[in-house]
Amino acid sequence: MEAALQGLASSMLVPASTFSDSAAKIGNVLEVVAVFFAVVLLVFYVAGKASGKLEKPVAIVVFLVPAVLLLLIGLVIPAIRTFYYSFYGATSAKSVGLDNYKWAFKTPAIQTVLKNTLLWIVIAPVLATALGLTIALMVDRMKRQAVVKSLIFMPMVISFVGASIIWNFVYNYRDSSQPQIGLLSKVVITLGWKHPPNWILSSPLNNFLLMVIMIWIQTGFAMVVLSAALKSVPDEIIEAARVDGAHGFRLFSSVQIPMIRSTLVVVLTTIMIATLKVFDIVRTMTGGNFKTSVVANEMYNQTFVQFNNGHGSALAVILFLGVTPLVAYNVIQLRKERATR
């Protein structure tokens, strides 16, 4: 631990150049934001002048056009181009038909990537939601639940990259004869496991260790949303159920769960979508090595490291096709929930 602390201490000393660099960057960002707001204000001011018959169409145009335009430029056109490129070779110069997709499903390394992604979307969201729900239930009748909730929600505030750096230290490996700097190794050695493995290298365990980070972050989100949903279940219903003899688990599974079902689904699919796009954790922790890569990371590698537009685009399309049904389902559930209110 001492070494880790020293490392932390020395990393606090940020050289002056870093500071001035960042100051300039932050300044630039602020500049861009200020210009953006100025333009928005101007547009609103001009539009506000419109009156009478014109009022409604002008309002529609003012509100809709920027959104549609940005959506086209930032999402629709790139998506179509990506789809198109996925049938072309590395430099997008000549058509290769379905070769990129064949490559994606036939190369063993990419099969591992797809398998990992599948594991991620099944396990991480389910565990995060289950954990969040359990905590929400337990906290529900607790005094000072705000404190507990804040503590559990806190990881949500940390960026994936920051969280990954923290967990990188947790999983750090040193031979058991050496002083340990990894928390996990130290804990299990103290508990009597003499020779713990090199965590981050142990496939397939390492995939789950990375998922722990995602779960650690997302549990807070699940807990907060589900806790609110549980509170919105009318007391009369709970009381009626109690009178009818439902207690404990029966009350939970037959009354509370069905009452918050749509929220549950929304939470689950939201975390699933976040998980499908997981990139930061994998890239920070392993760079996709040790059989831990996922589609988003491999897509980036193929496009910007291997400079293979075709492979990268094909993976992007696969990822897109994977996310679409989840998003659709999520939207449908959200609508249903709104309709019941």
Partner: protein, 484 residues
Amino acid sequence: MSFSLPTGRRRRRLMVIAPTIAAITLLAGCSSSKKSTAGASSTAAGTSSSAPAPAGSTSASAGGSTAPAAAGCDAYKDYPKLTGKTVTLFGSILPPESDSLNKSWADFQNCTGIKLAYEGSNDFEAQLGVRVQGGNAPDIAMIPQPGLLQKMVQLGAVKAPPAAVVANEDKYWNKDWKTYGSVNGTFYAAPLSANMKSLVWYSPGAFKKAGYTVPTTWADMMTLSAKIATDTKGKVWCGGIGSGTATGWPSTDWLEEVVLRQFGGQVYTDWVSHKVKFSDPQIQAAMKTVAGWYQNPAWVNAGFGDVKSIATTTFQDAGKPILTGKCWMLQQASFYGAQFPKGTKVGPDGDVFAFFLPAMDPTVSEVPVEGGGEFATAFRDAPEVQEVQTYLSTPLWATNRIKAASGWVSANQGVDPSVYTDPVDALSAKYLTDPKATFRFDASDLMPAAVGSGQEWKSFTAWFAEGQSIAQVAKDIDGAWPTG
């Protein structure tokens, strides 16, 4: 292998932050690059040093404005004053090393009025591609891999250097360096730094105490390793190939050193151009030599654990056990000296020092030297950019940089060897300029980026971490080689 000095010095703390910063810069860069191109429409062709200097001018403050830096400006009198212009530089050198860069061109900035805005990223190899393809290229990039340079030239983004840079290149560097800065016979980029890879770090004190002497042949080194292993009943070599998104690069160096020593410069060159494939019996034999050395379970990984722990140990941490006596030797480049904690004495009678990784067979190559370097690649051809490019190719800048801080070597022959204050720098400079040396540039830097900074790193990591077979590693890398 991989990296030149800059990348080598990456610090773990920054490794992950870099992409975020880069993302912000993408935004920020838009506004600033627009500003600079606007002013740059004037005659771009004029090269700085050949441009007419004001006749008989005694001071450099020809611009007429209040120039505060009068003192040292004689050396810069050939550089026309271009006050208010900014040249952006992008590289993989991070603080604190980048502070030395800023120091090295401080006089130039004062005397010419050109502002040099350097930005370092730990994700440089990936970010440069993103920025160039996104239309947000830096004015000058310090590219450590000729393979990446080639890629950038193919993208059509690289500007030809001014005549003064070509003249400096011909005058101050040997021909090999010019080939490394060229793509398909056209010269694009002059080298900035040079680094020496063929070194082994050790503790002179520990060697002396145990009565070991520095090996001068490969066979000696192997005998010594076996002897230390039996004497101490411990591990001998330490190593780490963890380096964020560049994980794997130090292991590619190990193979390159062995190929150069076992089969010589010609095979090495053919291997770089893929005439000799990874699956070739010679490269396979070299990989087996590496496996017998850095994957020998009795010898590695001193201070960390088993052979596999090489993959999870960052290269920065790899040599630290030398200081505590847990590790005897580490093969790593000259720039590794910067990784030892402050206060560590580096030198022949210090806490750590390096020896030349010995030759295997004098008939194959007598003094095999592997090195790297980075190249100043221009993406804009405004006069101020060319002026900076020219300055960076002079012995003047190289000397300024050497004086700014140790840990930096130039292959520029115009530099007086006595300016080196650091013993490792002096040692590196000695081998880099040895007439008998077979000097070869880092192979993975020369290979196409898809292999040299992509598949090779990945496959070598799998070789060390997952025990993937040599045949499979070779097959995957050969398969990733871009076709046409």
